[in-house]
C-alpha cells in the first residue's frame, strides 16, 4: 500500500466530469430547439449514465453494476432508434 | 434420395456454417457474457454459433466472409488509430473558443456494392475524423456525409475512398 490515493482522485474527477456532462446534456434536453435535438440529448445522457454506473462499480468494487450498465446501454439504444423512427416515419413499427 | 422440393427448402433454410464470421462472433459474445470456459458454456457457445445463423438465415444478407485476413488486421489498427486522432481533432475544435469550423455536406460515390462492406464503411465514416454518414443511398450508390470542418469536399471524398473503401473492397470482394 502506498500513500498516494491516486485512484481516488481520478475517480472523483471522473465522477465530476461525467456528472457535469450529464447536466450539460440535460440543458440541451430542456433547450431543444427541435425534437431531434432532444433525442440527441437523451442519447448522450444514456451513454453518460452507463459511464456513471461503471464508475460506481469501480468505487464499490463489485461486478453487480456491470449488468446494470449493459441493460442501460441496450435499452438506451432501443429508445434512440424508436424515437428517431417515430420522428421520421410517425410510426415505430410498420 | 431427396425430392427437388425438399432440396429447395434446404437451400432456403441455409447450411450450418454459412455465416462463419457471425457464428464466431455469437460464440465469442456468449463466452464473454458467461465469462467462463467451462465445458457447458463451451458447448452452448458452439450450439448458439451454429443454430442462430441457421434460424435467422432468411433475415440475413450476403454472408460476411473476410478474405484477406492480414489486410483486415492491419485495417483494424489503422481505424483504431484514426478514431483516437479524430477524437483529439473534435476535442480541439470543441474546446478552442476561437475556432470557427466550416461544416459541409459531401457525397461519397460507392465503388463497392457489397452490403457488408458498405455497412462497415458507413460505420467507419461515423467513428472517424469529423464526419458522420447521414444517408446511405442504395439506389444511386452513394453515401451522404456531413463533415464538421472541411474546406475541400472533393479531396475529403477522395481521401475516404482511398483510405477506407479500398481496403474494405480488398477484404470483402
Amino acid at each position: 500500500m502506498n500513500g498516494l490515493p491516486l485512484i481516488e482522485w481520478a475517480l472523483n474527477f471522473a465522477f465530476v466530469a461525467v456528472g457535469a456532462a450529464l447536466v450539460l446534456a440535460a440543458w440541451r434536453l430542456v433547450r431543444g430547439p427541435d425534437a431531434i435535438d432532444r433525442v440527441l440529448a437523451l442519447d448522450t445522457m444514456y451513454i453518460n449514465v452507463v459511464a456513471l454506473v461503471i464508475l460506481l462499480g469501480i468505487r464499490f468494487g463489485t461486478a453487480l453494476f456491470f449488468d446494470a450498465g449493459l441493460l442501460i446501454a441496450l435499452l438506451g439504444f432501443i429508445a434512440t432508434v424508436a424515437l428517431s423512427r417515430y420522428l421520421s416515419r410517425g410510426d415505430v413499427i410498420e | 434420395m431427396t425430392e427437388p422440393g425438399q432440396r429447395e427448402a434446404a437451400r432456403r433454410r441455409g447450411g450450418w456454417f454459412d455465416h462463419p464470421a457471425l457464428s464466431v462472433l455469437l460464440a465469442a459474445v456468449w463466452l464473454l457474457v458467461r465469462e467462463s470456459l467451462a465445458p457447458a458454456d463451451l458447448i452452448f457457445a458452439v450450439v448458439m454459433g451454429l443454430v442462430v445463423p441457421r434460424l435467422a438465415h432468411g433475415f440475413l444478407d450476403k454472408a460476411f466472409k473476410p478474405r484477406a485476413l492480414f489486410t483486415a488486421v492491419r485495417f483494424t489498427f489503422i481505424v483504431l488509430w484514426d478514431i483516437v486522432i479524430s477524437n483529439m481533432t473534435v476535442a480541439r475544435i470543441v474546446l478552442d473558443p476561437r475556432s470557427s469550423p466550416r461544416p459541409c455536406w459531401i457525397t461519397v460515390p460507392l465503388a463497392t456494392h457489397h452490403p457488408g462492406a458498405i455497412t462497415l464503411l458507413a460505420t467507419i465514416i461515423t467513428t472517424t475524423p469529423g464526419t458522420v454518414s447521414c444517408v446511405v443511398d442504395d439506389v444511386r450508390w452513394e453515401i451522404l456525409v456531413h463533415a464538421l470542418d472541411c474546406d475541400d469536399p472533393q479531396a475529403m471524398a477522395a481521401q475516404i475512398k482511398q483510405r477506407y473503401e479500398r481496403p474494405l473492397m480488398e477484404i470483402f470482394e
Binding site: N2, L6, I7, E8, W9, A10, L11, A14, A17, V18, A20, A21, L22, L24, A25, R28, D34, A35, I36, D37, A41, I47, N48, V50, A51, I54, L55, I58, G61, A63, F66, G69, L70, A73, F77, V81, S84, R85, L87 | L32, V84, N87, V90, A91, I93, P103, C104, W105, A122, T123, T126, T127, V132, S133, C134, V135, V136, D137, L144, H146
Partner: protein
Amino acid sequence: MALDEIHGVWQVVIALMLVVGGVFALVGAVGMLRFPDFYMRLHAPTKATTLGVGGVLLASMAANWGQGNYGLHELLITLFLFITAPVSANLMAKAALHLRVPSKAPVPEDQPRP
C-alpha cells in the same frame, strides 16, 4: 483486496484512463451545447462519448485485473457501444433531414429526403 492495494504503476495507468474518459465525456457534452446547428452537434457526442465511456470501461477492467479478478466483461459494453453509436447517429441524421432541420451548410438540392 481494495483499490489502494493495487500495484503503484498499475494505479497510474488506471487513473490516467479515468481522467481521459472523464475529459472526453465532458468534451462531448460541451460540443453538443456549443455548436450552432443540429448536424454539427451530432458530431460531438457520437465520437467523444464513445471514447469517454471506452476509457472508463477500460479503467474498470484494469481495476478488476489489478485486484486479481481477470475478466473481459467490460469489453462487451464497449463493443456494443461502438457498434450502436454509428447506427443511432445515422438514424438521427435521417430523421433530422426528413424533418428539414435547418443546416448551416447548404444541403445538396438533388438529395432525396428520406
